[in-house]
């Protein structure tokens, strides 16, 4: 099948960020004093377990960031035409989960629709719950549903356990060889938690994730695991697609404003005098405006601009993507002040130290002092800020989408799911699954991010060492 790769703005930035992170990791791993705090993070069971969960989310998000368009089947060979629908590698991997749409709501794992309809039965119109087109379509009647679910879960459980055992075996053999231990000795050390890294937590976490993934995959093959939404789309699919939106907002927002926060913060602290006054004035002004209002105003303006210039965007995905990027920029504009203030204080302290004086006495230029002596010493603050901001931004997206100034309504996001599901709880019987799925996934991501951030902060901040 012919495809045309599509690189959206956020895709490009995400992969640039990934490359940056990898380069940073490589340079850190070569320097002992930088490696030490990360090694300390690596020894914390809670942080590493959280990192594993984050890794799964990031993997899904990255797969969902590789976009392409399919070639239309009836397009001429010499002048190929491509579908307007932008798909991602993730869409291709989940197969027909994207296209198996029902008519309207259906409960999780249901085989009947949520609402009664007139169904033609033996030439007579009967009002009943019609069968779903895809969910449980392989079953003959309702009595088979429960045994089938149990059977699928059991298969998934065994497969998950087997996969985990296999992985664990490979890991054990490899690690034992590396540490020049016998396999039995390595296993005892692992069991007693004396490996130097949280092996038990990681293995248990991985097993749990594998089993969960197995259960989801096996059930999703025959049912709508989290039900379907108002227009009949699979809620599991929407929730998984929302992961990318959350990750983009959580990471790019801080990334796009880092240059601003770092340069202004350090400059204010290092140069002092009128530079400091001007920069302080700017961030007091920005800070004094209520954040939500500034974001709302800016988003309304961007929205108006996008609507009045439809010719700039060749498809709906590109339009939604530009709006997402604009949202990141705007949220970043209102949130860089905190980091800038922190960096200003630190640069103020550093610029009075002897080694900076010495550098000045030698006639080293300002740019060189700033880049070689000040910046490396405040870098850990930048890092902690990025990690700590992440979870707050993911949560903020939901609130902004509720207010109506979040991501594009056509984009899958947890905020849009919650916003769309606002009135569903008032229905009879209650439609709870869309809300439940959005909250559960958002909670998992934010909790993992918070726990990981705690680990990073404790490892980097010497004052908090043993401060329990």
């Amino acid at each position: 099948m012919d495809i045309q790769p599509v690189i959206l703005w956020t895709d490009g930035l995400i992969f640039a960020l990934l490359a940056g992170v990898l380069a940073l990791a490589w340079s850190i791993s070569r320097q002992e004093h930088l490696r030490a705090p990360w090694a300390a993070v690596g020894r914390r069971p809670m942080a590493m377990g959280a990192a594993l969960v984050l890794g799964v989310f990031v993997a899904i998000g990255l797969l969902d960031s590789l976009h392409y368009r399919e070639k239309l089947a009836d397009s001429p060979v010499d002048k190929p035409q491509y579908s307007v629908e932008v798909l991602s590698v993730f869409d291709a991997l989940v197969g027909d989960l994207r296209t198996r749409n029902e008519k309207t709501y259906s409960a999780p794992l249901a085989m009947h629709l949520y609402a009664k309809e007139f169904v033609d039965r033996d030439g007579q119109a009967v009002r009943e719950y019609p069968r779903l087109q895809y969910g449980g379509a392989h079953l003959r009647d309702a009595t088979e549903r429960r045994p089938d679910i149990v059977r699928r879960s059991a298969i998934a459980l065994t497969q998950g356990l087997a996969a985990s055992l296999l992985l664990f075996g490979v890991l054990a053999a490899w690690q034992a060889r590396r540490a020049k231990l016998s396999l039995g000795e390595w296993l005892t050390r692992w069991g007693e938690g004396r490996l130097g890294w949280p092996g038990r937590t990681l293995v248990c976490m991985a097993t749990l994730l594998l089993i969960l993934a197995g259960v989801l995959m096996h059930l999703a093959a025959g049912y709508h695991v989290f039900g379907t939404d108002k227009v009949g789309q699979d809620v599991l699919y929407i929730t998984l697609k929302s992961i990318r939106t959350g990750l983009v907002i959580g990471t790019l927002t801080t990334l796009v404003t880092l240059p601003l926060a770092i340069s202004l913060g350090i400059a204010a602290g290092y140069f002092r005098g009128w530079v400091d006054d001007v920069i302080q004035y700017v961030y007091t002004v920005l800070n004094s405006i209520p954040g939500v209002l500034l974001i709302a105003a800016a988003v309304l303006i961007v929205q108006g601009y996008i609507e009045s210039h439809p010719e700039l965007f060749d498809n709906a995905a590109a339009r939604a993507d530009v709006r997402l990027l604009a949202l990141c920029l705007i949220m970043g504009m209102t949130s860089w002040t905190g980091l800038a203030r922190l960096l200003r204080g630190e640069a103020l302290k550093l610029s009075t130290l002897d080694y900076v004086d010495a550098a000045r006495a030698f006639g080293v230029s300002h740019t060189r002092i700033l880049s070689r002596h000040i910046f490396p010493n405040v870098f850990h603050l930048v890092l902690i800020a990025i990690v700590l901001d992440f979870s707050g931004l993911v949560l903020a997206e939901a609130v902004l989408s509720y207010v109506g100034v979040g991501v594009d309504p056509s984009m899958h996001s947890w905020g849009n799911m919650i916003n769309g599901a606002r009135l569903e709880l008032a229905r009879e019987p209650t439609v709870w699954w869309q809300l439940g799925a959005a909250f559960t996934f958002m909670f998992t991501l934010v909790l993992a991010a918070n726990l990981f951030a705690d680990g990073v902060r404790d490892a980097f901040d010497p004052r908090r060492e043993g401060g329990r």
Binding site: V285, L286, S288, L293, L294, G304, S391, V403, V446
Partner: protein
């Protein structure tokens, strides 16, 4: 003291001018009155005449900064900047798109906002300090460890979830309290209880963890060791010494929030149907009523700056060593 206060007030003026210029730039230069008119009229009704009519109805048909057609001082006063932006300094906010006076609306809606925000602030502070003290009392035990984990878990739950779950279980399912609405006087108490409860619970995680860190830092100081060496009981040390000194950063940190309580909470008010400033703002954002949004931006900045000044004053009030010069 008085001279200090005066200087702080004078310093607030350039900041407010900055806010004003920024909002002017955002709302009139980046987003011109023509764009506003187009957005309000909708795609179907956009004709040059309709846009002109809309602009003259709202007073946006004047030049932005300088009116060359006018004479004398009217060159500066008969402009959008003077009538819509500079007028905010004397709290003249003009009219919203629904034709009502914004200043009047703000006065009417402050009460309901405060009726929710003030109890949330006070009760929240008390509850969070209590939990933080409990964790500090049991510090370095499993109770403390799991308390912190619980805080992180509570922090990780979306604020929307607390509201939706609270409304669904308490109001809709168990029918203990009305789901939304507002009334003045003592009869309005039943409407206030649920939003206050939900907001306080939503704030417990972040609040008590933050206060716990403050108390833990305080407990490592020398005077605490002295107090223990004197033979005081742990409870007495905690309540007489640590609590008192820990309250300094907590209270001074909370002061900055007090003036902004008038603004209310956007989400809580809109979910619970409270006719306060928060729901007013949300409605304005959703209806794209830029006049109201502009007024709320300015009001919010004024209140924030008042909060900053109050914070400075409170520092010198609780800690006599801090001199205001």
């Amino acid at each position: 003291m008085f001279a200090y206060l005066l200087r702080r007030l004078l310093y607030a003026i350039p900041i407010l001018i900055g806010v004003n210029l920024l909002t002017f730039a955002l709302f009139f230069v980046v987003n011109t009155p023509d764009d506003m008119a187009r957005l309000q009229l909708g795609a179907k009704h956009v004709t040059p005449e309709a846009i002109e009519r809309w602009k003259s109805e709202h007073g946006y048909d004047k030049p932005l900064l300088l009116n060359h057609a006018a004479e004398g001082s009217a060159q500066f006063t008969d402009t959008i900047f003077f009538q819509h932006s500079a007028a905010m300094f004397v709290f003249e906010f003009g009219k919203g798109d629904d034709g009502r006076d914004i200043g009047n609306e703000i006065r009417n809606r402050m009460g309901p906002s405060l009726a929710i925000a003030l109890p949330v602030f006070v009760v929240g502070l008390l509850v969070n300090i209590t939990f933080a003290l409990l964790m500090v009392f049991f510090r370095a035990t499993y109770l403390d460890l799991w308390g912190v984990v619980l805080c992180v878990v509570l922090m990780s739950i979306s604020g929307l979830f607390y509201i939706i779950a609270g409304q669904y279980f308490i109001a809709s399912l168990w029918k203990l309290l009305p789901i939304s609405g507002f009334a003045g006087g003592i009869g309005g108490l039943k409407f206030i209880l649920l939003p206050v409860l939900v907001s306080v619970v939503a704030g417990i995680g972040g609040g008590s963890r933050w206060y716990r860190t403050i108390f833990i830092e305080e407990i490592g100081k020398d005077y605490v060791r002295t107090a223990r060496a004197k033979g005081l009981s742990e409870l007495r040390v905690l309540f007489r010494h640590v609590l008192k000194n820990g309250m300094i950063p907590i209270l001074t940190g909370a002061v900055v929030v007090i003036p902004t309580l008038f603004m209310g909470s956007l989400i809580t008010e809109s979910f619970f149907g409270i006719p306060g400033l928060g729901s007013y703002t949300i409605d304005a954002i959703q209806a794209q009523d830029f006049a109201v949004v502009r007024a709320m931006v300015f009001l919010g900045s004024v209140l924030y700056i008042v909060g900053l000044i109050l914070t400075d004053l409170s520092y010198s009030w609780v800690d006599p060593r801090v001199r205001l010069q």
